[in-house]
């Protein structure tokens, strides 16, 4: 190869590259039906009062799920997702972790876990409660992945479940919300928390998970109108936009 590629050294991030943005991620406090929740720019939700960390739609083993049908997506998605989860757990040290369903891309996913990923998962579960909420991709409890399987989970006033029902006091996943805003002729599309005062749809956490635009009818059906806020995930902080201001795809 020509010299301009060999010039590149190891992939170190220049710490000073973007001086105006703080290096430590900034979280956002979201009040949901009186519960004080912390939204993390990684797409996770932490509830300090209960020491509870929630993540939605991990879609582990999505790569290998595609590979079964001849599309060899990189087999690194599970490791990538678990690595991000590891950092979060190290930071918040939660007592309980709730995976809000579709934790595996398909029912055979748990069996395909690589040994190294299975070990990472085990390490994450050690010393804490781990709840697998069942989702439409993984409706059946699976063996050898630890944790407890539940359809829903009630904590305080809030219900954690996979499929949104539109009722108040719920935190759910499934829809993979993303929002798009434009500014100065350029548009940015990011995953987001979609929330009003009583309900929240969490962003998908998995490395290979795409998204559904919050301007889709599914969100209007759920929230009644577009009277909710899209908390878009930035690299180091969240950005709040009224869903009314967001653009369709």
């Amino acid at each position: 190869m020509t010299n301009y590629w060999t010039l590149r050294a190891n992939h170190r991030r220049a710490a000073t590259a973007r001086a105006e943005v703080p290096a430590v991620p900034q979280t956002l406090e979201i009040n949901l039906s009186g519960a004080s929740l912390i939204a993390d720019p990684s797409g996770a939700l932490y509830w300090p009062e209960h020491g509870l960390l929630a993540v939605a739609d991990l879609h582990l083993e999505k790569g290998s799920s595609y590979a079964r049908h001849g599309q060899f997506l990189p087999p690194y998605d599970t490791a990538a997702t678990l690595a991000r989860l590891t950092r979060l757990i190290a930071h918040y040290a939660p007592r309980v972790v709730v995976a809000l369903g579709d934790s595996f891309h398909d029912g055979g996913g748990p069996k395909r876990l690589l040994d190294s990923d299975r070990e990472s998962l085990g390490a994450l579960q050690r010393g804490r409660e781990w709840i697998w909420i069942t989702g439409n991709h993984d409706p059946e409890p699976a063996e050898s992945i630890g944790g407890v399987f539940q359809e829903t989970m009630q904590v305080g006033a809030l219900t954690f479940r996979h499929l949104p029902t539109g009722t108040a006091y719920e935190v759910c996943g499934h829809l993979h919300p993303v929002a798009r805003v434009s500014h100065r002729g350029r548009a940015v599309r990011r995953r987001c928390f979609a929330a009003d005062e009583t309900r929240m749809v969490m962003p998908a956490f998995g490395a290979f998970t795409g998204g559904l635009n919050v301007r889709d009818a599914a969100f209007a059906d759920l929230f009644g109108t577009f009277a909710f806020t899209a908390h878009m995930l930035g690299d180091t902080r969240l950005f709040a936009f009224s869903a009314k201001r967001c653009l369709a795809d």
């Binding site: 170190r12 001086a19 943005v21 590979a67 795409g210 930035g234």
Partner: protein, 848 residues
Amino acid sequence: MPRPKRIDMPPLLPDAFTRWFAGRGWAPRAHQLELLAKANEGRSALLIAPTGGGKTLAGFLPSLVELSSKTGPKSKKLVSTGSGIRREGGLHTLYISPLKALAVDIARNLEMPVNEMKLPIRLETRTGDTPTSKRLRQRRDPPDILLTTPEQLALLLASPDAPFLFGSLRRVVLDELHSLVLSKRGDLLSLGMARLFQLAPEMTTVGLSATVAVPEELCRFLVPQPMQGEAHADLVIAQAGAQPKVTMLNTTERLPWAGHSARHALSEIYDLIKQHKTTLLFVNTRSQAEFTFQSLWGINDDNLSIALHHGSLAVGQRRKVEDAMSAGKLRAVVCTSSLDLGVDWGDVDLVINIGAPKGSSRLMQRVGRSNHRYDEPSKAVLVPANRFEVLECRAAIDAVAENAQDTPPLRTGGLDVLCQHILGRAVGEPFLSDDLFAEIRSAAPYATLTRADFDDALDFVATGGYALKAYERFAKIRQGKDGKWRVTHPRVAQRYRMNIGTIVEADMLKVRMVRGRRGAGKTIQRGGRILGQVEEYFVEMLSIGDTFVFGGEILRYEGLVENEVYVTRSNATDPKVPAYEGGKFPLSTYLAARVRNILADPEAWRALPDQVREWLELQEWRSLLPPASDLLVETFPRGGNNYLVCYPFEGRLAHQTLGMLLTRRLERAGLRPLGFVANEYALAVWCLGDIDLRVSRRELSLNDLFAEDMLGDDLEEWLAESSLMKRTFRTCAIIAGLIERRFPGEEKSRRQLTISTDLVYDVLRKHQPDHILLRAARADAATGLLDIKRLSEMLSRVQGRIVHKSLDHVSPLSVPVMLEIGRETVYGEASDVLLAEAADELIKEAMV
């Protein structure tokens, strides 16, 4: 059937042919006879001829002559039962063209001599439009001559009866070879040819090409390359036609500083159209085509029939224009490179090129589109749209006069195309890897392929090519006990056929004209007509109510419904969203050097219009004009910001990359850059910090700022988030078969199902940065959307040759690029910054 020896046959041309030529009042041209002689010697040949030189007939003449002497009716007793059957007759000549419309037209043109001489020859076309029944029949009972495209060849080869079909092949004719070899389609074609040479070792090739800089490279493309050294086809050069008359429009209007519209010269252009029978108006981008077409109709008092042709228009509409043109019904066609190739139109007596010509070979090919009467000179007028383009036009006219060519060098074959081909080979017939490697190396673009790269490609096809061997049990191809690789499941073959080809368009969306606007409780009525297609990323920029020009009209964006862009007609006089990209070529390195020479040489200014000469003189007085090999960097304050303007003349793409990398450095140096803008000639960066002061205090060295090592870490870091790089990766991923193409009809469901290549890119880049697809994407980025290769060459050229001029205000030379500010500001891909701004704005709004 052994090939009959005809070397000692005295007259090259059989009587029937001689009579036919005479009957039409023609005489065979020297190069036509020369190609015939080469064929008789069993040699492959490249013919370089101007348009109108009887090039196509020359290419087919040897085949027509050979086939005309066929004795008796063809034996058709044998029917394909698989490979290995040898029989009389069968496919004799394969013709491959980059355009399927061209294949169809050539077939029509060939019918004439075949019918008039009553030759026992069957010729047929095979394109994506050919009905399945005919395609099946063609496999069983092939014609003598088959006219087709590179993609169809790949499909034919990926079938078990390929040895039967091609075993009888004697000749392959490659049309518009100069154009084919520039793209990945050329890579695919070269691999297909390597296969054909295996199936039909006696086959020879004929390449037809416009004039190119290094014909020897095309000669290599035409024959199998040995393991050591090089092999070449013979070169046949047709006598050049008359020297074209190329002039620059000597406008009486004021020449604009910037822009590409040539608005100032419209009435002069209109007068030229009036004075000629048929005019072809070439422009560089689709938006320019739209603008020019619309403006010309605005002043078309004589109601001249002026048409529009570009690649985004619906196919039916384009065909209509082409047919009207053939029928001599049009006075002018405004077109983009969509008409660079194609059918010859004898009646065009003027070519007008609006805007910069970009390269001398490209210009000569365009000029050659006029006056196909060969011995009469073609006539062309260049219309520069701004002052820099005057310099470029001048340089191009000089280059044409010297017949100086600047076509790019032959590509190194893409690894993504290689992956596609390997799967195709397995679909066709089981292979041994050593044999396939040798076969692939015989294709000129892959002559330097390493065994390691080949093995990686094979590994990718089999199981994805991951260091983590996770997918062995899902393998698409597997080695059998005999050591041969074969596909594991018929489904793999089926999917291969659905995803063949190297043309990956940006995701295109159909534009549909609807009645009734959205809003006020009204719903859009469906069912209007389709106007054409636009790129998905252009639509992403639009908000409902925005207006843009398309198909010669100003349209209002009404929304995206499923995969169609709904628009209504707008009364607006100026579109709000000015442009969408497409068909923009960078200035060739060669012309760029000529432009730098003109700038550096006041003697050369005499050939320039007064306005331009005065502009340069002013620049010399206020700032300076650098020697041709140096890089001028100007710094000046303006409106509270500090500007840095440099003039590399390396094209917009390379300048954009340079801008991205420079701003990263300036940011690290604490100079707080705010933005940059690039055009074909220059780059302007503006900062809050005082660059000039820092340079004068020797705290900042411009030589360090422009040091080549910016192509190291900075580049890597930028690539991580660059949307251009992600687009490049997506193309490679689709060609190599990692991601499947989208098909009409299943778009809606697949939009949600299909995995985003951006996510794959992010993960792969972190976990296996040397994966074959990332290597393929980097190789593409070097010459494609990021033009890193050219930037690298420029940075190395100007090392220690940076001339800094510190100024109090804007210099005359910088005006054009300064005028682009606000029109096309790019800064970073840092969408977080954008989000923060958008969010802040919202807060401000809320506080008022």
